[in-house]
């Protein structure tokens, strides 16, 4: 299903947009909309719980390459960021580092990009004091955006590079924010398109193949792309290229990326001198440990 077709249904029925996404899910998978809503509500609840629990904590990650980034950012008074951006960024880093230390995360849409959507959801919860039901509706819309990418392109870094993972997460998060503030699916489409275009071409180049560098901090950066895209769309800025076509373009770019830039740990920053030295050290430390 294209995003434009969902918008068309909305224009013809004027039903609440998250209900249209749930109805479409029933047509495609046969799943009961109430049950789907219940599971999504649980995913959102877990996100908020984990964000609260891990906010700005220090983590002992599997390789030790990350672990104190959320802590550092949480303990400064931001100079340029708003409170909203600051909280969203701390959560995005916290989720990324919790993931890297075998914490409980929601793979939304993947484990490596698990910080972006909770970042914006928790900022709405904490700063805007959002009501859970409104947040859930916006989260369902975000899931609908992710589903369009999953069906028409890919969510896998190995298949399409990081743009497929963090790019999709960011499109979802910007759609979530835009829907929360505007309830306008057309603006949601623009926000998602702006976000995905901003991260188009991003390669998947994890140092040593591990989900830490650059993944953790990339979550922190991407959540701000999501916020900026939503702010632009809410101001009436439109994406010249519609979201569905941006998704197709992202897929084409992903397929043309060489294998070294698709989660193999062989290209990009993973191929740098420092990355090689760091990985060597990590492997040394593993010897004789459990």
């Amino acid at each position: 299903m294209k995003f434009a077709e969902l918008i068309e249904i909305w224009q013809n029925t004027n039903l609440e947009f998250s209900e249209i996404i749930l109805a479409q899910e029933m047509i495609e998978t046969g799943r009961d909309p109430e049950k789907v809503k219940q599971v999504l509500s649980n995913l959102l609840r877990v996100m908020l719980e984990e964000a609260e629990k891990n906010f700005g904590k220090r983590f002992e990650t599997l390789t030790g390459l990350t672990g104190d980034n959320a802590y550092k950012l949480a303990n400064v008074k931001p100079r340029m960021m708003s409170k909203f951006n600051h909280i969203a960024t701390v959560v995005a880093l916290s989720m990324g580092e919790s993931n890297a230390s075998m914490g409980r995360i929601v793979a939304c849409p993947t484990a490596g990009s698990c910080g972006v959507v909770p970042g914006v959801a928790y900022a709405l919860w904490e700063v805007e004091k959002a009501n859970f039901d409104d947040l859930l509706k916006a989260f369902i819309v975000a899931s609908g955006i992710g589903n369009v990418v999953a069906k028409r392109a890919t969510l896998s870094g190995a298949a399409g590079g990081c743009q497929a993972e963090i790019g999709t997460a960011t499109a979802m998060a910007s759609g979530l924010l835009t829907y929360y503030y505007s309830k306008d699916p057309i603006r949601v489409g623009h926000a998602a398109a702006l976000a995905l275009k901003a991260l188009m071409g991003l390669v998947c180049d994890p140092v040593g193949g591990f989900v830490e560098v650059p993944c953790v901090k990339r979550n922190g950066n991407a959540v701000n792309v999501a916020i900026a895209s939503a702010e632009m769309a809410l101001a009436g800025i439109e994406s010249v290229i519609p979201f569905d076509e941006v998704v197709e373009a992202m897929y084409e770019v992903g397929k043309s990326l060489p294998e070294s830039l698709r989660e193999t740990g062989l290209g990009g920053i993973a191929a740098t001198k420092t990355a090689k030295e760091v990985v060597e050290k990590i492997r040394e430390n593993w010897k004789g440990t459990e």
């Binding site: 996404i21 877990v46 599997l62 075998m102 995360i105 793979a107 975000a142 193949g209």
Partner: protein
């Protein structure tokens, strides 16, 4: 793939292929035979290269003692495995022409011994590719029966006669010609009842029977 797979699941980090998928493969063995007394995990390919950095070792131990992927104790799996008295070993080998993320699990429990090979094929999805030498392709999304039976005429018919729900897939192979033993793997549309298991267990051609049941809403 739908909304729930896009926006979920809840899992233990850091990687759906290396922790979620690995845990599900090991949990299949747990569902097959309970917590074994001892287990050897043979890691192949990318699993062997990066297992510590991805926590694949802890995910496998967590799965074999029955933890689910969203259990916050997955990271403490070494300690939990010791607490339940599980003897474990990790080894590395080339398992041949298989998926890069493949593990062979050899598990002993009392007199029982099972060997299960499985691959984590991306996004947390798995394929059980071999059970006690019999090639199969189980995604873990159907309940399964694993039956060790005597390799005699009518053995399969007897087993199928006991089953009162729809059968999705059947895999059957002679595993020991000398002793006349065959292995039958049957994927079902619904969980088998105790009566079905009892019916199969009492067949004269059946040596062992295992059931891998699904809990509600679960893929292993």
């Amino acid at each position: 793939m739908g909304l729930l797979e896009v926006s979920g699941p809840v899992m233990t980090g850091p990687s759906s292929s290396h922790t979620l998928g690995a845990l599900r493969i090991a949990r299949f063995v747990y569902k097959l035979m309970g917590i074994p007394d001892s287990v050897v995990f043979t890691l192949h390919g990318s699993f062997a290269l990066t297992y510590k950095g991805h926590g694949t070792d802890r995910a496998l131990l967590a799965g074999i003692i029955g933890l689910k992927a969203d259990d916050p104790r997955v990271k403490d799996a070494y300690k939990l495995a010791k607490d339940v008295g599980l003897k474990y070993e990790f080894e590395f080998a080339d398992l041949g022409d298989v998926h890069p993320n493949t593990v062979l699990i050899k598990a002993h429990k009392g007199d029982l011994y099972n060997e299960v090979e499985g691959s984590s094929i991306g996004g947390g999805a798995i394929r059980i590719t071999k059970i006690n030498g019999v090639e199969c392709s189980l995604a873990g999304d159907y309940p399964a029966l694993v039956v060790v039976n005597k390799d005699r005429p009518g053995a399969l018919k007897g087993i199928l006669d006991c089953i009162n729900v729809n059968i999705a897939n059947v895999y059957l192979r002679r595993v020991n010609a000398l002793e006349g033993i065959a292995l039958t793997i049957i994927e079902l549309d619904e969980n088998p009842t105790e009566e079905v298991l009892e019916c199969i267990r009492t067949l004269k051609n059946v040596i062992e029977v295992y059931a891998v049941r699904l809990e509600e809403g679960e893929i292993i």
